[in-house]
Symmetry: C2
Subunit: 135 residues, 2 copies
């Protein structure tokens, strides 16, 4: 049902920063842990920076460090930072005005999906990055 892995990668990235306990970490190092390239990691780190989860330091001897306590950064925080809070998509085909079912369907689906997403959201708020770290 899902397409991209950005939430997973974001969580991985933050976990790496958390494991360094506030030290400055370079995107290249993080990329090594995720096993991807540094530019992709920076793209995600950029969203996290704008969300105030991470601080970026420019220039030589730059890098990234966590701003918040890893125990207080939840999966939901990351989803919001990435702008990916929706779990379902409704088709965009225009409703058929001749069909009563079609007329109300997209609104009904929107409400139904919102209920499910709300339940998921509640759970995501209960899972912090700290729980992803090795014991």
């Amino acid at each position: 049902m899902i397409s991209n892995t950005r939430l997973a990668v974001a969580a991985h990235i933050v976990a790496v920063l958390a494991s360094k306990k506030g030290e400055s970490v370079k995107s290249r190092y993080v990329a090594g842990s995720v096993n991807t390239n540094a530019a992709f990691v920076r793209r995600i780190l950029c969203s996290l920076t704008k969300a105030g989860i991470v601080r970026a330091e420019m220039g030589k001897s730059g890098g990234f460090k966590l701003v918040k306590d890893p125990g207080k950064i939840t999966l939901w925080d990351l989803s919001v930072a990435l702008g990916e809070e929706r779990l379902f998509a409704v088709h965009k085909n225009p409703a058929n005005p001749c069909c009563p079912v079609s007329r109300g369907m997209k609104e009904s689906l929107g409400r139904a999906f919102s209920r499910v997403e709300k339940a998921a959201q509640a759970q995501m708020k209960r899972i912090s990055v700290k729980e992803l770290l090795p014991a």
Copy 2:
């Protein structure tokens, strides 16, 4: 977070069948309500048929009809029928064996995501197609 709209379309399709109260409905008619083409609708109806939610009748004067009570067909039933029960994806990059965080990350993420999916699933089981129909 989601890419495809098959669950939404499947729900729409079943709602149309439900509104016809067990009568046989042609894929072409359903396609008119969803505002898409009949082959796409049949592709989804095929999954629903295999899942026992719908019965297909071949040949001239063929069509589709609901097998189950619309009040007993849930969003979760449809997701299972479509083989789309996962909401999140973990990146497939191999773990970096030198990094303790990386070593455990994919398992940790799998567990975390499963918890969220379970919450979503519980909610999806509580929403039936009947609730999507106009009052």
